[in-house]
Each structure stands twice: as structure tokens, then as C-alpha cells.
Symmetry: C2
Subunit: 246 residues, 2 copies
DNA sequence: TTTATAGGATAGCTTTACTATTATAAACCA
DNA sequence: TGGTTTATAATAGTAAAGCTATCCTATAAA
């Protein structure tokens, strides 16, 4: 397993120069993850980063046009890495139920270190994604950025999960919406348990919290997706709540 | 119905001076909604707002300490308004299924104008909430802000929906998580249909999109919540996916 | 008539986000 | 060996953002 290279194909529009090829570039990546975690993306600046790595603002700008692109670059790295791990760990699973469970586990757990990239701390990056990842594609400029391929990694991951859903039930009407909902709900509930407990039912911390999130998502998936279309015909006044015609 | 006053109790820590009491204050509210919609919250500045309303930056600062607080103020206004409408329109409904459906409809549709507050355009504000509302509570400073009560309106709304869920099934283990998920999923799918279509299955626009979102959420709600705990015991290798012990 | 209060006018300060120029040292290559 | 890229450090500077402070005036409450 260690011999399989994690060939990360990142959108080269996101950086001016490949940061993984030089010493300074790797320092930028490694320390930006630490500093964004420490300060939050709003208070993180290239000035702070340059000071931290003993370089200058101008040098950082040679790698990334601005902090937003660096942020998107890191998120793409994360999403590609999650997708890669799901691919690797589900390719030999034939049972769609087990495959789905494995995927959910990987989405929730980020903590298995990737030996190929010692300069990225995946735990810290996961923390950033849980707290602020959603900001990447919620902005006024989303259309231009989407056009430039900024969100390809995230969309690919959702598509993979959507396909797993269709393998559970080929007639399910909302595979993509459900896939994006699962990923967001996973991150949100980890975040809520830590910061806004009234928005979640999960109270655990650490590994136990991750277990609880997976269990909850499994409950949502296996109750909604595999439910036969007419199972809820008996709910009063509820009509056409099952399949979408489109 | 027009005679019932919308008594909005907003957190007074959010503003230095009640903007609804003065002409300038109301202009600030009204025009900030328009400008945040036009520029996005990142590109919106007090300078632009002051120019728009023919006033000065310093005068705007007399009402709001910074644009983040103004943003939170507007979001609280929105969430309180949604909660008020749900309260008003469900108080006479005895059937929990119908009540839930009405609540979902109100969360998705923002477009019924509130005559009491002509200086807030609810449609435009809804647009802002769908696009950028999630940013309000995803930041490094969430704990302090939560401590100050910045998110009370949102938490109350979630609690209301969680109670509706419990009325559908008092044994359901995840009422709060499901409530926050429903609200986020509603907004996300409207946003995705407009900007990131690969993340949703819904393709409609305008009112038809809202209808599709409601229909999808109903599918999720009524398939899972009213599902008896052991209905999915037949899924292979799936154990304990129903109720949480806590 | 005094005294708050609202808000306009002006100025200025710090930080952020970037750009441009030059210098230097190592790497590569003929 | 010398010449030329390449990476990056050092320095300087600009424009906008995000505030803060002061002073002045109109109005309205006491």
C-alpha cells in the first residue's frame, strides 16, 4: 500500500509555480496549513506566513497570486486526497453497503497520515476543512472560479459518492444532492459538536465523535436511500414524496 | 394577519445604536442588503455603503462596529423572520406531517413580503443567506461570538424544526442534526442549482426550483423520521444504525 | 436656555494586499 | 572558465480597507 503513489493532479491555474518542487514552496504549503489553522483564513496573511518561514511577502506571491488561491489549492489537495483514499480502500469491496460505510468512515476520519507528503499535516488540514472549507465555494465570484476549475476535486468526490448511492439504489432520485449533503453534514456535525452544540445531537469528542457521526450518517443513508418508493404511502396527506420525475 | 406585529427581538450587542429608530439607520439596513447582494460580503465595504446613502464612513460606524456585525445583524433578522412566519403559519395546524411540510415550504420560500418592514427586501436578503449565510458561524472566532449570543436566532429556528421532527417521531435519535441539515440542504440545493449543478439533482429555476427543493426535503424527512427503528434490520452487515444510546 | 443627541466634514493612522526594482547566490551549461 | 538562467532575498512603494478622533452644526428634549 505504501508503494502506491498518490498522484495528485492539481489545477495548475491555482498556483504560479508548483510549490511541491522547491524548498520554499513546500515551506509555504506546510506553514500555511499551520497558520490558517491557528489564525483562521480571515486573519491569515502572506505577511504572517513570510515572517513564519523567514522569507518575504514578495517571494510567497511568486507561488500564489493571493491567499484565496492558496486556500483553494489546499482544499483541492484535501478533497483529492480523500477521493484517492476512498478509491484505494473501496476498489476491492463488492458489497455496495460495505463500500458506502467505508466511504463515510474515510470522509469523517482524516487522521491517517499520508507518508508521501510529509510536509502536509492532514489532521490540521482536516480541521481547516471542517471549520472553513465551505467558504471556498460560497461567494459572489463562484461562477468565474468554477469556470476555472477551482472546484473540480470537490465535485469529483461528490460524484464518486453519488455513484455509490446509485449502486445502493439505482432508482434513487437524488444521488448528487444526497452526496453533497452527506459530506457537508459530516463536517457540520463535527464542527457543531465542538462549537455550536445546540445544532447537533452528538456530544462526543475525538474518535468517539467520529464514530457517532459515521453511525448517524449510516442511519440517514440506509433509511432514506434503500427505502422502497411506496413504503411511506401510509403517511397522511403525503403524496409524491418519493421519486422525482426529472 | 396584517395586524400581528413582527416583534423582532434582536441582540443589541450587534449594533451600537438601534438602526430601525432613525432615518439614517434604516437607510443603512436597506442599502447594505442591496450592496451585499450586489458585491458579495467580501467586496462590500462601509465606504461603498456610505457613498451609496450619501453619508460618511464614520456615521455608519456609529451604528455598527464593523461589517461583520452588520452582516450577523441582517442574518439574525432573517432567521427571526423565518421563525416568526413558521410560528404564525403552523400554530393552527394539528397534523405534525402538515406542520412539517409547511415549515419546509417557508424555509425554502422567502418571497412573501413583510409589510411591517418596508426597508428590508426579504427576497434580496434570502439571496444573501443562500449564498453566504453559512459564513456567519464558520470562523475562528465562533466561540466568542456564540458566547455573545450572535447565533441565537439560528439556533432557535433549528430548535423549532427539531421539535417538529420529534412530534413526527418522539424516538428519533437525531432531531437537531436533522433540523440543521434540512435548513442547510435547502439553501445549498438552491445555490447549487444556480451555480454548481454537479452538486445537485435539481435543475429547475425560480418557483419550480423551490417546489423541487421542498419535494426533495419531504422525501428525506418522511422516509427517515417515520421509519420504524428496525425497518432496516435486513441490510447486510448493518448493525445499530438506528437509535443513538445517548 | 441649557444640554444631549444625531450626524456631517475632515483628517489621519494601521494593516492588508499587492507590485516593482535591484541584488545575490547557486545551478546549469557551453 | 565564464556566461546565463533561476530562485529568492531585500527594499521600496502604492492603493484600498478598516478603523479612530476631532470638530462642528442642527435639532430636540429638559
Amino acid at each position: 500500500m505504501n508503494n502506491i503513489t498518490f498522484n495528485l493532479v492539481l489545477n495548475n491555474k491555482l498556483c504560479q509555480r508548483d510549490p511541491l518542487q522547491t524548498e520554499l514552496g513546500r515551506k509555504i504549503i506546510q506553514n500555511s496549513v499551520q497558520l490558517i489553522d491557528r489564525y483562521g483564513i480571515d486573519q491569515f496573511t502572506f505577511k504572517k506566513l513570510a515572517t513564519e518561514i523567514g522569507s518575504t511577502e514578495a517571494s510567497v506571491y511568486r507561488y500564489f497570486e493571493n491567499k484565496h488561491r492558496l486556500f483553494i489549492y489546499l482544499l483541492n489537495w484535501y478533497w483529492e486526497w480523500v477521493r484517492f483514499r476512498i478509491h484505494l480502500q473501496t476498489m476491492n469491496i463488492v458489497d455496495p453497503v460495505e463500500r458506502m460505510k467505508k466511504a463515510l468512515r474515510i470522509i469523517v476520519d482524516s487522521s491517517k497520515r499520508n507518508l508521501e507528503t510529509p510536509y502536509i499535516d492532514e489532521d490540521v488540514l482536516h480541521n481547516i476543512v471542517v471549520r472553513e472549507g465551505i467558504k471556498a465555494y460560497h461567494s459572489k465570484t463562484v461562477d468565474e472560479e468554477n469556470e476555472e476549475g477551482y472546484f473540480l476535486a470537490y465535485k469529483s468526490l461528490c460524484e464518486m459518492i453519488a455513484n455509490f448511492i446509485l449502486e445502493l439504489n439505482p432508482d434513487f432520485a437524488y444521488p448528487r444532492s444526497f452526496a453533497s449533503m452527506l459530506i457537508e453534514t459530516a463536517n457540520n456535525n463535527i464542527y457543531f459538536a465542538q462549537h455550536l452544540p445546540r445544532l447537533t445531537d452528538l456530544e462526543a469528542q475525538g474518535d468517539a465523535l467520529n464514530d457517532a457521526v459515521v453511525k448517524m450518517l449510516e442511519c440517514f443513508v440506509f433509511n432514506i436511500i434503500n427505502n422502497p418508493p411506496d413504503a411511506n404511502a401510509d403517511y397522511r396527506n403525503t403524496k409524491n414524496v418519493n421519486l422525482q420525475e426529472n
